[in-house]
Symmetry: C2
Subunit: 504 residues, 2 copies
């Protein structure tokens, strides 16, 4: 058996090497590249990605996969190599299902749509973007048809980001979540609002950067296998698990986004750094899904980084670093400020209690677009109505409304849901970890994050792509993806901060 | 005709893209990579280089080249596409002449030799390095035999770095140069020595860095198509001509090496940035040879950067930036200090009047090793004897003697000569530019480097690899590579500085 798998692995290793190279080239483009290098970078990146795709979809890979599947048919279903063959075969099927000509057509359409979106957003001109979005949606419908019929056409899109996840499952989850979050928001709106002026004064970027570095070093970010840079939009990228890079940015208007953004990207990075060496240079490298990845970033950013125990440990150091800004600001005052809930127009600026509502309305609109129940022409009005219904605010224009996100212009339908699934999973893991390790909060209060990291490593990180999200969450948290823990977490935290009593 | 060339170009473009990617990966390894990423980077780099080699040496490329050669046989011999076919065919022949198994064996030997060299150098233990170097030399002899017999076996090695250059030509050039430089050195030794203490005090790295950036911006370094970083060893790398990156370093012991090193790397970068767009993504991208490349770096570092007119323009700004260090140091004093001649043991620290002597003895030793007239066992003694003969200094140990350079352990035989050829070409170009543009020095005295850069662009840079070094130098400077101008330059400059009278 080993010779088949060995030959397969040898082929895949080169594919992974090429993907690593492409990922690093993309990092360079966003962090280092001088502007004049853009055309050259575009050329080399497209050649490297093309070769990676060609080598992965080669007929020889297909033959070896068939042979390997027969050979592992009687083996332990949970053994690494059994899973490896299954995951690789699944990836191979998906990669070979879509004709190259379609991929090229879609790439061209998406490139034009992104340009159009940028211009439309700047001029608050949805009409000029509309035909591009219509083409993107039409191509997505065509894309869906390349795959075997699913329970719901949207399943195909979801599957690209959240393998195995069904539209029906997502709908049930979001329905329960929406009811709970809207109810919570209404309760908060009736309470006195929080004064967060202490976050809006001037903070020196370099000092906040240093503070953030101290925090993520404590979290366990491995600087021998990673680095941090600045970029326009923060992101994390992994060249395998031994070179994991995060970026951050500074915004004068909201200086603390540097800190929370750094914790967020570190959550992604810790996941990538924690994947088992056994999966190195195989299709099991990387994270189980975007949702599971997001669960890690949100866990460190919010469950840890916006928690009271965290700040009981770190606030004295912060106050010492910023004596002028934080003089007279108590720990409690600061804690309430960074957890202030306020419905707003922009998703990426939303707090923990409103973020999912932004996501949910996008998911609903996407499904309606794919089902054909909504036309692109009706999108702005539908957007504004849902904003008002869920968040109680109405965008004054499309720039701060339907045109705010790049995703649709980039052809990313089925993606938004992963943000919320990530939030839900983060609370499930958090609750479970608290159950198996009752000293959870006490340890964080002492600046000890090592038990948490070890637990995440053993329950989530090490597996890479071995398990699909639902199976992984079931194993780690004891149930499938479930909005219960997140709602409990939010009600507990906001209830305490805003003085709201909740029935159990 | 065009369809053959078009098909050939399409294949080559992907090869160039892969080389660009590999070059950028190497840059990243030296500038950005966290240490733990080394194995992953090694894997992806080797895969990308391997694919580039496989695609370039594919039989299809050979067939298209044969067809293209027939088609351009009657075309203008100097047309870009005629030259492109000829250069590509030459590169193809060289790339396909050496069996892959040998390349792998050599790579393995060289990797072991480099490790052994590092350890031997640290412990002053030539004996432990000796068997490795013997293996490298034996493999070089084998390598030579893969090629058609040349006038001299060393021609084959030279040709890898200085296309078309013959050992016989190099010997004639170096003989004349040696006589002149040794004579000059003796004359200088009899004169009062220069006090360069003003260069040895403390200078803040950040201030020198800023000053160097001002200088190279004036030179014409295009920041839209380039960047500068720090690295252990300074280098320049070009991802095509639109993304050209240089690095620098700071040494407390000799702070000004940051400035001169930056000017040196900028010389390389200006060449790369100046290659015609027509050669982009073809085998004509890049420089004509290492020697011609070095002529550009040395021209900007020395002919410009250590000249009196240059400092007449820049010294006031330097003095203003470093008032404490340069108080009371006159322009003349500073100019003499940065041009101080002093025979020393280490090549990379040598001045303009001794540098070539370091190179020449290495070239002589290499030729003797390849001819079999010298054994590796006799190398340290031969080294020390030549040091004494040419430079009048004798290394106290092999660490500061025969073990100082990495080149031989890296399998780079035939490389050293290019440093001196570069110096010679730089003086030829400089003399010629002065003849066609008599205001040369006056312009530099005013901080105007644009005419110089334009002239180099039109005479050298734009052509990329279209011409071989001797042809390029003949066209640009009016004669083949010739030590005359460099000796005239040195005698003039050192004669003035040291008060030595020279016969015309």
């Amino acid at each position: 058996m080993h010779s088949t798998l060995d030959r397969l692995n040898a082929l895949i290793r080169e594919v992974v090497d090429l993907r690593h190279a492409a990922d690093l080239l993309e990092w360079d483009e966003r962090v280092c590249m001088p502007s004049g290098g853009a055309p050259t970078h575009g050329e080399m990146l497209s050649t490297v990605r093309k070769l990676a795709h060609e080598q992965f979809t080669a007929a020889e890979v297909g033959r070896l996969l068939d042979a390997a599947a027969r050979e592992v048919a009687s083996a332990d279903l949970d053994a690494d190599h059994t899973r490896l063959v299954a995951v690789t075969a699944r990836d191979y099927r998906k990669a070979t299902q879509v004709p190259a000509a379609f991929v090229a057509e879609q790439a061209e359409a998406v490139s034009a749509a992104q340009h159009a979106w940028g211009a439309a957003r700047a001029k608050n001109d949805f009409a000029s973007f509309r035909p591009h979005l219509e083409r993107v949606i039409a191509l997505k419908r065509q894309y869906i048809n390349f795959f075997p019929p699913a329970d719901h056409p949207y399943d195909v899109l979801l599957d690209d980001f959240e393998p195995g996840m069904k539209t029906a499952e997502v709908k049930v989850i979001l329905d329960e979540l929406r009811t709970g979050q809207v109810e919570l928001l209404r309760a908060i709106a009736s309470r006195p609002q929080i004064d967060d002026a202490c976050l809006r004064v001037t903070y020196a970027e370099a000092d906040l950067y240093k503070f953030a570095v101290e925090v993520i070093t404590k979290f366990g970010f491995d600087w021998e296998r990673g680095r941090q840079d600045k970029s326009t939009h923060p992101f994390a990228t992994a060249i395998g698990s031994n070179d994991v890079r995060i970026t951050t940015r500074f915004m004068e208007r909201y200086p603390f986004s540097l800190l929370f953004g750094t914790m967020h990207e570190t959550g992604h990075a810790l996941y990538d750094q924690g994947v088992s060496r056994a999966h190195h240079r195989t299709q099991l490298e990387g994270g189980a899904s975007l949702g599971v990845h997001e669960s890690q970033s949100r866990l460190w950013e919010n469950l840890v980084g916006r928690s009271r125990p965290f700040w009981e440990y770190f606030y004295p150091a912060l106050q010492e670093r910023f004596p002028a800004q934080l003089r007279g600001v108590t720990l409690n005052h600061f804690y309430r400020a960074i957890n202030k809930v306020q419905p707003s127009l922009i998703r990426v600026e939303a707090d923990e209690a409103t973020y999912n509502l932004h996501v949910m309305m996008r998911v609903e609109l996407e499904i309606a677009l794919v089902e054909g129940k909504l036309d692109v022409s009706g999108l702005p009005a539908a957007w504004n109505n849902l904003m008002e219904e869920y968040l109680g605010v109405r965008p004054p224009d499309d720039t701060t409304g339907v045109l705010q996100d790049i995703h649709w212009s980039a052809g990313l339908l089925g993606y938004f849901a992963t943000y919320t699934l990530g939030n839900l999973i983060s609370a499930q893991l958090w609750e479970r970890f608290g159950a198996v390790y009752p000293e959870r909060d006490a340890a964080i209060r002492c600046g000890d994050f090592s038990t948490l990291l070890s637990w995440l490593r053993s329950e989530v990180h090490q597996y890479g792509r071995k398990y699909q999200p639902q199976e992984l969450v079931q194993r780690a948290a004891g149930s499938k993806i479930d909005p219960g823990p997140y709602l409990r977490y939010l009600r507990g935290k906001c209830g305490e901060i805003y003085g709201i009593g909740w029935k159990a």
